[in-house]
């Protein structure tokens, strides 16, 4: 019985990765949920928007790296992030102006918007693959770890190490800053309040003089910032590959729906629910239980509930359970 080592192993393999992944999902799901709340459709192009933002950031990062600019221990990508966000804002505003606005004027059904977003997804996917190619790209630099497993072992004298990657630390800090800023914006500023009003009741908002086109534009700007940040953080943590961003759609949508579509608080909660379940269910608990079990009763198998290849199945199962028992999500979302 060795509680401390068990806790450290659990933190190292489950808690820290799940918190980082949960933050990335939460940022992605916030974008999806904002679009759903204001523009009232499920945006299938969101994963590829994230990929585009990450790609733009990577290109600027490479440029900065070639100039010899760096942030010391922090990745240069943080410096490039604002430029990536600007590029994504430009892309999304152009997309809205040329494509979505036409259907908004027509008051097209949400399902038509969804199909239009499929077309946008194709184009964005093509742009990303065309510019940067379909392969893995490395762009992280600076220190790899905040706490190294070996240093932790030496400092504490425990047999289990705790590694804390820089990318994980940055993810968590950035997510907290971004979410705090978003909620401050939505709750305290006039524009944010007009956005919430528009989301709650479009007709009433229009009657009170809110300019819908302005609300929509600001939504796209915020979504671009969120998507790019999420995309870059995910890329720093797990590497950039265009196709993985498309695959992120499922856990991101699951997060948004589990939390309640259109509810920002729900999106964050949903992101962490999905991330923690994915990591816990696909983690082999042999080591942790080995420390906890009494002498001689250590498990011989991996004690892994599902292999990591089925992580999509986890987010999907949670999604189905929520749909069956609470279709509006854990926090009350919109019903359409």
């Amino acid at each position: 019985m060795d509680l401390i080592n068990a806790l450290v192993a659990l933190a190292n393999f489950v808690l820290v990765p799940a918190i980082a992944y949960g933050s990335q999902l939460a940022l992605g799901a916030l974008g999806v949920t904002l679009i759903y709340g204001i523009l009232r459709f499920s945006n299938f192009a969101h994963g590829d928007t994230m990929a585009f933002g990450a790609m733009a950031t990577i290109l600027v990062t490479w440029l900065l790296q070639s100039w010899g600019v760096s942030l010391g221990p922090l990745p240069t990508a943080l410096l490039a992030l604002p430029f990536g966000i600007l590029a994504t804002i430009a892309l999304l505003l152009v997309t809205d102006r040329t494509i979505y606005r036409f259907y908004r004027k027509q008051k097209a059904a949400p399902v038509i918007f969804l199909i239009v977003s499929l077309g946008v997804m194709f184009v964005m996917n093509g742009i990303v693959r065309f510019i940067i190619g379909p392969n893995d790209q490395r762009f992280s630099d600076g220190a790899r770890f905040i706490i190294k497993a070996r240093d932790f072992k030496n400092a504490t004298g425990l047999s289990e190490g705790l590694a804390f990657k820089t990318s994980q630390g940055i993810t968590i800090v950035t997510a907290i800053v971004v979410v705090a800023a978003l909620f401050w914006f939505l709750n305290k500023t006039r524009t944010g309040k007009s956005m919430r009003a528009y989301s709650d009741n479009e007709d009433l908002a229009l009657l009170s003089g809110i300019n819908p086109e302005r609300v929509v534009m600001i939504t796209w700007i915020i979504v671009a910032a969120l998507a790019t940040t999420a995309g870059v953080l995910y890329g720093l943590d797990k590497g950039f590959k265009p196709f993985t961003y498309f695959q992120l759609l499922l856990p991101i949508f699951a997060s948004a729906i589990v939390g309640g579509l259109g509810n920002p608080l729900g999106a964050i909660a949903g992101g962490f629910v999905i991330a923690f379940s994915e990591v816990t269910i696909t983690y082999a608990f042999k080591k942790v239980l080995g420390y906890l079990a009494p002498e001689g009763l250590e498990p011989s198998s991996l004690v892994q509930l599902l292999s990591t290849d089925y992580k999509f199945a986890v987010s999907f199962t949670i999604l189905i359970i929520v749909l069956l028992f609470r279709p509006t999500g854990l926090f009350k979302g919109k019903a359409l």
């Binding site: 459709f41 499920s42 299938f44 494509i99 036409f102 949400p110 399902v111 038509i112 969804l114 199909i115 239009v116 499929l118 077309g119 946008v120 997804m121 194709f122 184009v123 964005m124 996917n125 093509g126 742009i127 693959r129 065309f130 510019i131 190619g133 379909p134 498309f246 695959q247 759609l249 499922l250 949508f253 699951a254 729906i257 579509l261 198998s301 509930l305 292999s307 290849d309 089925y310 999509f312 199945a313 987010s315 999907f316 999604l319 189905i320 749909l323 069956l324 279709p327 019903a335 359409l336």
Partner: protein, 435 residues
């Protein structure tokens, strides 16, 4: 379809492009493309049933296609007797226990009154069932996979004629569709899209990882064929003589073309039957009811139609057609390659086919199937030409020119997306609109 000049011209264009393909790439490539076009047309018919007739958004076509492909393996590959002896029975028992656990949980949910005791019983049942399942399943799987894993390492199939796999593929897809439909239909429309997206990813994950079932990433090759083999034809005296009377003296060309024509014949029969059925359905009282539901659910419900049930029905039918097409596809390629299933190719491209062809019109779906397949097939080449044209002022060896030309194949995704957006914007009812 009204036989007007526009529609005839559209189909004629497709015919011309096929002939051009034949002239440029040879008859084999053109016939393969034609067969793929027939499969695409069948897929588009299935999706058109769901979207055009009922307004249901199925974003998991890839999953149903892959299930159909799996059925060809399960039906027609020879059984691996050693593997079955090693763990076949145990796997089946484990799967039955798993199914029984889920059924039991559903019954428990229905029968017991809601409360703490129900929740406890439910969790207890699921936990016990899961561990019992894993206890039986894991050793059986490793026993099966260790049987000559380089050559087999899976249970194999039933060794039956591969044509039986076609209806079986449809049945398996229908079963999966029933599960999805039961949960996601009746909720708002986006949920079905996301649920189907999820099930498709899971089906692919299962095919990739359950080696005992599908050999996973080791792929299954050499699935038996419903048509003769080229080598047999080349050895057959009578075939060569017949070929010579048609003026083909090259035995390899004659045999490969003949095999592809056999597939074409089979696929045309299936497409014709499905087309006839779809047209009947479209113009029957049932079809009119479906369109009434699609156009106004509230009014249809007020008239006493069970909207959710009808939706479930048509969702299952459409998915079954996708499963059938998947089985046909795997039969034609004689392989099951789980890693080849990409959502952009197998789901979203089919969507583009339906929408561009004209949702709600079966002829439109067939036209879209052929048209988009051709665009997809020629897309890489078109992208390359376009890039060569754009970059001709640049000297050879300039970085930008090399980059643009090397990445030109990715142009086709963009091209398909732009075509979809243009059609949605300027001709939202498609090339052959609903009547």
């Amino acid at each position: 379809m009204t036989m007007n000049y526009k529609n005839i011209a559209l189909f004629a264009i497709i015919g011309v492009v096929f002939i051009l393909t034949g002239m440029v790439k040879g008859p084999n490539a053109a016939l393969y493309l034609l067969n793929l076009g027939l499969i695409s047309a069948i897929l588009a018919l299935g999706v058109n049933l769901q979207w055009g007739l009922a307004g249901l958004l199925n974003v998991g076509i890839m999953g149903f296609v892959a299930l159909g492909a799996l059925s060809t393996v399960l039906i027609s590959m020879p059984p691996t007797t050693e593997a079955i002896a090693a763990g076949g029975l145990r796997v089946v028992v484990a799967l039955l226990i798993g199914a029984a656990t889920i059924l039991g949980a559903v019954q428990l949910m229905k029968r017991m009154t809601p409360g703490k005791s129900r929740n406890l019983a439910l969790i207890g049942l699921l936990v016990v069932g899961f561990f019992l399942f894993r206890f039986l399943f894991d050793p059986a799987v490793s026993a099966i996979e260790s049987v000559d894993s380089a050559a087999t390492g899976y249970l194999g199939g039933l060794g039956l004629p591969v044509l039986l796999a076609w209806p079986m593929g449809a049945l398996m897809a229908a079963g999966a569709a029933w599960i999805i439909g039961k949960t996601a239909l009746g909720l708002r429309s986006d949920y079905l899209a996301i649920a189907t997206l999820g099930i498709a990813e899971i089906i692919i994950a299962i095919l990739k990882n359950e080696d005992w079932l599908s050999r996973g990433v080791k792929n299954v090759v050499g699935i038996p064929r419903p048509v003769p083999y080229e080598v047999d034809l080349q050895a057959s005296e009578s075939f060569l003589n017949t070929a010579q009377t048609f003026g083909i003296n090259d035995p390899i060309l004659a045999s490969t073309v003949f095999v592809k024509l056999c597939y074409t014949g089979l696929f045309v029969v299936v497409l014709a039957i499905l087309m006839w059925l779809s047209q009947q359905a479209l113009n029957s009282p049932w079809g009119r009811m479906m369109r009434a539901i699609r156009d106004n659910e509230v009014a249809a419900e007020a008239m006493g139609k069970d909207v959710t049930r009808r939706h479930l029905q048509i969702f299952i039918l459409g998915s079954a057609i996708c499963g059938l097409a998947g089985a046909m596809w795997a039969t034609m390629d004689s392989t099951l390659i789980p890693t080849s299933y990409q959502p952009l190719r197998f789901t979203f491209l089919i969507w583009v086919m339906v929408i561009i062809g004209g949702s709600g019109n079966n002829w439109g779906a067939i036209l879209g199937g052929f048209l988009i397949l051709l665009l997809w097939d020629w897309g890489e080449q078109l992208g390359l030409w376009m890039m060569e044209f754009v970059t001709w002022p640049l000297a050879d060896g300039v970085w930008l020119k090399d980059h643009l030309i090397n990445n030109a194949p990715h142009m086709r995704l963009m091209m398909i997306g732009i075509v979809l957006l243009l059609i949605l914007r300027f001709s939202p009812r498609g090339l052959i609109p609903e009547e």
